[in-house]
């Protein structure tokens, strides 16, 4: 809703137009239909145009680093290439991404505590929002990494670690208990046992044992048996024969159950509950489900006690069953989006997972990097093939989106370009469109833009940037800069235009603009004939100024015969010849004098005639803007006279044989 009066009168309706970049221009709008009554629109209010821009969370400095860092990792991953490196390499990259998120979360936490942020409620809110989002990303990414990047055969230990990491609360409390030592059990027995229970549910057998061993009752038979049970639990290690492990496991669980049935722990009901959990007792676990924060919290723990050799493909069924149980016991609770994503991962529903990832409010950061690692690691290729999804195309579109978003936001263009580089022709086209749009505030930035375009071989972009800078310099009357940028742009028309301007300015006022630049054009002059003329004429001008008349006259003759003289400059050029013709000791040979005369008659005279025909007799100054010209005809006569005189002298001198 726009607040301006015009919009209010029209019933707060809007119209919007997309502006290049990520902005939308909004203005008030009244819908006029064929049946709406004609009204006098005597509206005096100005039409206000509002620019709407999507806020990006990455304005926060702490969050910026996530972009830059992820970009570096992204580039590393591209170098690894698709499916060529060892699997461990991809896992390392994935780990690096998660490390970035964790470092960033830490930074955010620090930031949140700084006084600067505390005073600013909106910023605090933003930070908290960002933290929630990135925490969730880290969590699902971790799970994703376990299931699809590392691709271990047995997932339970990793899943346990994952659950522990994301529900650290229990571990913190357990540390407190450990520090308290003997008194732990007595001070607050209820929390004591609660912590122990959740420890067991998270599969932290060792910590549980340590806490139990500290207890005063540790020497009692019930505790001793419990210790035995927990200690005796077989843990699967790599390179273990699976069959052997399974039989050990079977033996241990039967033994534990027998001990429970034999009421060994009956004197210690709390302890008995722990052992029941370990034995996979349904009731105890149901109680756990009721206490859990989210459905997947205790799933890994349950798997540890019920199916320690769970394989990734078996996880699907286990997760479904567990979720059913959870839904039955917690009917009021709905799945959070994170819970849903965890489920999708466990159920091997990567398609939906990617879809869900795109909906996270992180400006596509997660989905872009996720899809890229899926594509590069190549472990899910067959899955996507089966589901008829074109994985490269999907990756393209997501990365493209992310990259162009970065490109079009004010100072992230250097990052965005790397993503667009991965998107083949579309990316190249987008760079071509977006790069010239970046406003170069200084020439330094411009040269960075140029380097970027050059690296990608975008000649058109390079030229565009140079042209813009040339025009800008020209408008602020810095002609030296203008001509330099024009030369860089290699645009013949632009160079010609500026050279024309300088020549015309000279013939009008007699002062040469930006002499230092023209003198150093050097080999670059061959870009445009006009520029060659300008530099050569400047050379002549310099010779003349330094009274090196012989060299000057030679150059002038060359210029006259070069056929690159622009029409408007003929008068100036010929007038320049006059003092050389008239000088005391002759400088121009007879042949050249004839040619000057020839030029006067074939170039200057027709020019004057054309001019007279067009503008009439008394309007000569339109063409002859030379500062030295007052009366054209007089000049013409003087020139002819000078030529004749010089010719006479030159002929005599040239034909005189020195008498020895």
């Amino acid at each position: 809703e726009l607040g301006d009066p015009l919009a209010q009168r029209c019933g707060n309706t809007l119209t919007g137009v997309f502006v290049p970049g990520t902005r939308i221009a909004l203005s008030a709008f009244r819908n006029v239909r064929f049946d709406s009554p004609d009204e006098l629109t005597l509206v005096q209010e100005p039409v206000l145009i509002h620019m709407v821009e999507e806020t990006s969370m990455f304005e926060e400095p702490a969050l910026r680093s996530i972009l830059a860092e992820a970009n570096a990792t992204f580039c590393t991953l591209q170098q690894l290439g698709c499916g060529q490196a060892v699997r461990g390499e991809y896992a390392r990259v994935s780990c690096a991404y998660r490390g970035i998120i964790r470092a960033c979360l830490e930074k955010l936490e620090l930031e949140k505590k700084s006084p600067e942020v505390r005073a600013d409620d909106r910023r605090l809110e933003r930070l908290q929002g960002a933290m929630a989002v990135f925490y969730a990303i880290e969590c699902v990414w971790h799970l994703f990494e376990i299931l699809y990047v590392q691709q271990c055969q047995l997932v339970v230990p990793q899943l346990l670690e994952w659950a522990r990491f994301h529900f650290p609360h229990t571990e913190e409390r357990a540390t407190d208990l450990l520090l308290m030592g003997e008194e732990a059990g007595e001070a607050d027995p209820e929390t004591y046992w609660e912590v122990l229970r959740s420890l067991v549910r998270l599969g932290e057998i060792d910590v549980t044992r340590a806490i139990l061993a500290q207890s005063r009752k540790a020497q009692q038979p019930a505790y001793k048996t419990a210790e035995q049970v927990l200690k005796g639990m077989p843990v699967y290690k790599d390179n273990y024969a699976l069959q052997k492990f399974l039989s050990q496991w079977e033996y241990w669980s039967v033994d534990t159950r027998r001990k429970l049935e034999a009421n060994v722990f009956v004197g210690e009901p709390e302890l008995e509950q722990l052992i029941q959990l370990v034995a996979g007792d349904k009731e105890q676990w149901d109680a756990g489900i009721r206490e859990s924060d989210d459905w997947y919290q205790y799933l890994p723990g349950y798997l540890l006690y019920s199916k320690p050799t769970c394989k990734p493909f078996e996880l699907r069924i286990a997760a479904a069953n567990w979720l059913n149980r959870w839904a039955l016991l917690r009917p009021g609770k709905e799945l959070t989006s994170m819970g849903r994503m965890v489920l999708q991962l466990m159920q091997h529903d990567v398609k939906l997972f990617v879809f869900e990832a795109q909906r996270m409010s992180d400006s596509h950061w997660f989905s872009a990097h996720l899809i890229d690692i899926i594509y590069n690691a190549g472990t899910l290729r067959s899955y996507f093939d089966q589901n008829n999804i074109d994985l490269p195309a999907l990756r393209h579109s997501i990365i493209y989106e992310y990259g162009s978003q970065l490109m079009s936001s004010s100072n992230l263009w250097q990052l965005g370009v790397d993503y667009l580089d991965q998107c083949k022709q579309e990316g190249r086209a987008a760079i071509e469109l977006l790069l010239p749009r970046i406003f170069a505030r200084s020439e330094r930035q411009a040269s960075k833009l140029l380097a970027m375009a050059k690296k990608r071989g975008l000649l058109v972009v390079e030229q565009d940037i140079c042209k813009v800078l040339s025009k800008r310099a020209f408008d602020s009357q810095r002609y030296g800069s203008a001509i330099e940028w024009a030369i860089r742009s290699k645009d013949v028309l632009l160079v010609t235009g500026i050279a024309d301007f300088i020549l015309k300015h000279y013939s009008r006022t007699g002062t040469m603009l930006c002499p230092d630049t023209i003198s150093s054009v050097g080999g670059r002059m061959f870009l445009a004939p006009r520029l060659v003329f300008l530099s050569k004429y400047f050379e002549f001008y310099e010779f003349y100024r330094h009274r090196d008349f012989l060299a000057a006259s030679e150059l002038l003759i060359n210029l006259l015969q070069s056929k690159i003289t622009p029409d408007y400059f003929w008068p100036s050029l010929l007038i320049d010849a006059m003092p050389l013709l008239e000088s005391k000791d002759p400088k121009i040979f007879s042949k050249e004098t004839v040619s000057i005369l020839h030029h006067i008659e074939t170039e200057l005279v027709p020019l004057i005639e054309r001019n007279v025909a067009r503008y009439g007799e008394h309007n000569t100054e339109t063409v002859f803007k030379d500062y030295r010209v007052e009366n054209v005809n007089e000049i013409l006569n003087l020139m002819r006279l000078a030529c004749a005189r010089n010719l006479a002298r030159a002929v005599i001198i040239e034909n005189t044989v020195p008498v020895d």
Binding site: S447, D516, S520
Partner: protein, 379 residues
């Protein structure tokens, strides 16, 4: 290629300049960064702390890992374009400025501060170091015909003299004691100047966008400036090639080294300006900064736009006797390649490295990857 242990620290700012705080007798543990192209640009003072949490490195016998922590910052009006120390705790900072800024304290006066120079003072302390802006110059650079601010592009320091150059082609000389008054303004060029360097107390070299270097005399006004100009060599005669950075040999000040846009290094012997003494192809992109090690003149560093940092070492072990007075490996023309060995310090960064600094064996650099790269114990 290199065994240097690089630690990377992301600082969420594009770094345009980085400098160690000078220390006389010890390794510097503080450095300053200036940022560019951000919504708000800062000069930040960082201090290295040992990482208490990373014990792996220490137990392995390596040096303790160092973590930079931001101690203080000063907001500047626009991009930082160059920073240089005037004395051991005064930093001159030039700023490219194209905006008019309204100061709340000066309301309703709008100050147009453009292409200006600031002095920042570092207060060292045991715990919290402070950084404070002590002086700021008036607008130094603006396009003459239109009253439009021009960015200041580089600065050079000699003793207490500070010279700045800008896109308007002016060179201004000031003293650190009084920034309000410009000692000398020289209309050096009609093109934008890219780099500036003192080659003596009274002499400056300014390089423009076309690759023309000019010798300027601080003592005389624009009209009486010596007309000494020389051009950098270039791979292709028809393409443009500007000088992006300048340095001179710390012991032999007549050796002037220019890094250029196309990534080549041109060496000039200032006693003989007829032709360049050496021409070395180095990087494939703009050399953003070039400079000798402050204490060890046999090492030269170059940082490029494609994210490479190289170290050039004079080969002493080739059996040739120590360079005679006045001659140097850098002036050997074609043989220079055999006398100097480039070595990669940093590679594969893919984003431009804008600046570096070396102090003792500590090397630091930063660029558009929004990170600083720290190498402790170079070589």
């Amino acid at each position: 290629m290199s065994q240097n242990n690089v630690s990377i620290h992301y600082i969420s700012e594009k770094v345009s300049r980085v400098r160690w705080l000078p220390e006389q007798l010890q390794q510097s543990e503080r450095f300053l960064t200036g940022s560019w192209d951000m919504d708000r640009n800062f000069v930040r003072l960082w201090r290295l702390h040992t990482n208490q949490f990373a014990t792996a490195n220490v137990t392995a016998g390596g040096p303790p890992e160092l973590l930079p922590r931001c101690m203080d910052k000063v907001a500047l009006e626009d991009d930082v374009t160059a920073m240089e120390f005037v004395d051991k705790d005064t930093l001159a900072v030039s700023c490219a400025d194209g905006k008019s800024i309204q100061y709340p304290s000066l309301n309703p006066l709008i100050l147009e501060i453009a292409g200006h120079l600031s002095l920042l003072k570092v207060h060292r302390a045991v715990e919290e170091d402070l950084l404070e802006r002590t002086a700021r110059s008036e607008c130094l650079h603006s396009f003459r015909l239109l009253p439009e601010p021009a960015p200041c592009t580089d600065l050079a320091v000699y003793g207490h003299d500070i010279a700045t150059c800008g896109e308007d082609g002016l060179v201004n000389v000031l003293t650190a004691g009084n920034l309000r008054q410009v000692k000398r303004t020289i209309e050096a060029d009609s093109l934008a100047l890219c780099a500036l360097h003192f080659i003596g107390q009274q002499q400056l070299v300014a390089a423009n966008r076309m690759g023309i270097l000019r010798l300027l005399d601080v003592r005389v006004a624009s009209a009486a400036q010596p007309k000494t100009a020389f051009m950098t060599a270039c791979r292709d005669d028809k393409s443009s090639n500007f000088v992006s950075s300048l340095a001179s040999h710390p012991m032999q000040p007549h050796i002037l080294i220019c890094g250029t846009e196309e990534g080549t290094i041109t060496v000039w012997d200032l006693r003989n300006l007829q032709f360049p003494a050496s021409y070395i192809s180095a990087h494939t992109s703009t050399i953003n900064e070039i400079g000798f090690h402050r204490r060890d003149p046999s090492k030269l560093f170059t940082a490029s736009e494609t994210g490479e940092v190289w170290m050039w070492t004079e080969q002493r072990s080739l059996g040739c006797e120590a360079p005679k007075d006045g001659s140097s490996a850098w002036l050997c023309g074609d043989r220079v390649k055999s006398l100097l060995k480039p070595q990669g310090v940093l590679q594969n960064i893919s984003k431009p490295i804008n600046s570096f600094d070396v102090h003792g064996t500590r090397f630091i650099c930063g660029g558009d990857s929004e990170a600083v790269y720290l190498i402790d114990g170079l070589m």
